[in-house]
Subunit: 148 residues, 2 copies
Amino acid sequence: MDYNFYMNEALKLAKKAYKKDEVPVGAIIVKENKILARAFNLRQSKRRATYHAEILAINKACKKLKDFRLNGATIFVTLEPCAMCLGAIMNARIETLVFGATANKENVISCSELAERCGLNHNLKIIKDVQKEECEKLITSYFAEKRK
Amino acid sequence: MDYNFYMNEALKLAKKAYKKDEVPVGAIIVKENKILARAFNLRQSKRRATYHAEILAINKACKKLKDFRLNGATIFVTLEPCAMCLGAIMNARIETLVFGATANKENVISCSELAERCGLNHNLKIIKDVQKEECEKLITSYFAEKRK
């Protein structure tokens, strides 16, 4: 699987979020080399605490497959998922999580620790640092602009 | 605030989930003594990994208040939230989480540990064991019936 190709697709979505003045995060769900769902963060525009890119992408993919399980799927996210989104990825039994930028906050539980300790008998494969620089640059410039 | 009253309302919702052959969990969001949202688990009926009672209730409450923040709100859930739902509760900045039955699984991160380690500068107040027996009985009998 071409991780860089799919992460670039997720980056395009993150840029759409940026244009809407949302924290720029994009997500794509791929299964059997087909893109099942694309989404970006819409928390502020739609005024919903839960409308992160990953949740929206998972909902779309479930709708498409008419299934609450996404076995065998891979999710590409430009930023390391928060606890809510990592929990959703586990609940959906997504096989692999690929992310770009790391959240890097002190005392914050890592995706891998949370995946192990969320009580589901499901082994999530996690791959990080894909297109890391591009993903980080987008987030950093968004917050730098915000601080102005 | 009358915790038992609101938890009983959440229990009524959990029983609706039970009738639909869903894991029986109900949630209610209250702010200033008004019920903002009621929801129950619809994961299987709607075929969405994310359609837990808490997520659906948070979405409804956000829609009602036209806000992605639910400051000052209390969420009542019949069962201890999973990682996804606890993350959503934190993302929505809900003030207080009240739950009935405890998930009680080995090696599973507790709500209080996850709330502290999910990277948000938000102090969630957590109250457990409200209508504990009733909540547990419902979950236990659902799974006992399933095993038959």
